[in-house]
Every structure is written in C-alpha cells, then in structure tokens.
C-alpha cells in the first residue's frame, strides 16, 4: 500500500522569503503522479502543482516548484517570494495511473503542513 508522509505539521515564513515543505512517500509502483494541494481557510482544495513520475524534470508553476527525487521517494515543494495569500494547509498527495488495478485514481494524502506567512 502507498503511504505519504509530511513530517512538518507547521511552518512559518516571512513575506517575500522562500520556504520548502517536505514530503516523502512509499510505493512499489514505477509510474504514478504526485501533487501538492493547498487548502486555505475557505476549505477549497486547490491544486498547486503536479509531477509525473516518468518525467525527470521538476515541475514549476510560477513561484512554486518541486524537487522530485524518485530514488529517494521525496517530493518537496518550494515556494519563492512568499505572499500572505500563501497562508494555508498544504497537502502532498499520491495517485496511481489508470489501469494499474484496484481502485485507481484515488488520491492518498499526507497529513498536511500548515504554512503561515508572516508580514
């Protein structure tokens, strides 16, 4: 079974600075997807970034980038130039691709990291 671990329950960063959120996972699969989702106080789950395991290049989305280390099963999120609106709970998530058997496409979430951006 797949597991996702986020070892930082809470983090704090000053506005405009850079912060890195950690995520490790365990799987025997070779192909899979990894995601970072953000959940602000509004409760809406918002996709931040997505990484396909077969891609060696790290995904980037504006101020958000990942450091994907497949051999180490590590998937950290870097937020540059932090903004007050980045304050939220961040969840790392794992998903097997379609057709890999069982209940595919369900997301397995980590426990989350609460990020507070300080003015």
């Amino acid at each position: 079974a797949q597991t996702v671990t986020q070892s930082q329950p809470e983090m704090s960063v000053q506005e405009a600075e850079t912060v890195t959120l950690s995520c490790t996972y365990d799987t025997s699969e070779n192909n899979y997807y990894l995601f970072w989702y953000k959940q602000p106080p509004s409760r809406q789950m918002i996709l931040v970034i997505r990484q396909e395991a077969y891609k060696q290049q790290n995904a980037t989305e504006n101020r958000f980038s990942v450091n994907f280390q497949k051999a180490a099963k590590s998937f950290s999120l870097k937020i540059s130039d932090s903004q007050l609106g980045d304050t939220a709970m961040y969840f790392c998530a794992f998903m097997k691709p379609w057709g890999t058997g069982g209940a595919t496409n369900k997301l397995i979430f980590g426990t989350g990291t609460l990020l507070a951006v300080q003015p």
């Binding site: 409760r43 809406q44 789950m45 996709l47 691709p97 209940a103 997301l107």
Partner: protein, 113 residues
C-alpha cells in the same frame, strides 16, 4: 479544469437525522469521489461514486451509513445517515478525468449536535 458545486456549504444537524450532500460538475467526468476531513486532519476517502452502479467503499465506511448515488456523469450525492457528533467533519467531493488531477468542491462543513 472543472467547476464543482457542492451544497450545502454548511449545516448544523440534530443527532439521529440524515443529511444529503449534493455535488454537481459542470462537465462529464470519469470519476467522482467523496472524502471526509475531520477537524484538523487530512482527507480520508470514503468511497468512489460509480455511475449507474453501487459505490466502492473504503475500509471503515459502509453503505448503510454513507449511501452514495451517481445517476449520471455530472452529479453525485452523499448521505450521512443516523448522524452522531462523531460525524462532524468537512465532506468534500472531487472529480477526475483519466490521468488528471482531482478537482474539488468547496466542501460541506457538518456539525452534529
């Protein structure tokens, strides 16, 4: 992407009653799921809502407690039955196409008193 409308957004219910939560997607999707998020916790999958057939439940969740319907490719409901205070949580629906990320509704905050 998809727009997912979930309602109600919040409700306060008496123990022993039932609440049905609706999830409407603005386009046909392949998969729909229901999650529970207990206070301060991560998301736990309740079940996969299958179009035209019985939902597939995860360990620890049963149909009698959480009946789910999915009559078509854009709509699903989750009922929380015979509620107790332990059912107080946020309930979220999500939708996916093949090999895409999940899109989420805004969640339903349920308080059982």
């Amino acid at each position: 992407s998809a727009v997912i409308s979930q309602k109600p957004s919040r409700d306060i219910c008496q123990r022993g009653t039932s609440l049905t939560i609706q999830c409407q997607v603005d386009s046909q999707v392949t998969m729909m799921f229901w999650y529970r998020q207990q206070p301060g916790q991560s998301l736990t999958l309740i079940a996969t809502a299958n179009q035209g057939s019985e939902a597939t439940y995860e360990s620890g969740f049963v149909i009698d407690k959480f009946p789910i319907s999915r009559p078509n490719l854009t709509f699903s409901t989750l009922t929380v039955s015979n509620m107790s205070p332990e059912d107080s949580s946020i309930y979220l629906c999500s939708a996916e196409w093949v090999d895409t990320e999940a899109f989420f509704g805004q969640g339903t905050r349920l308080t059982v008193v």
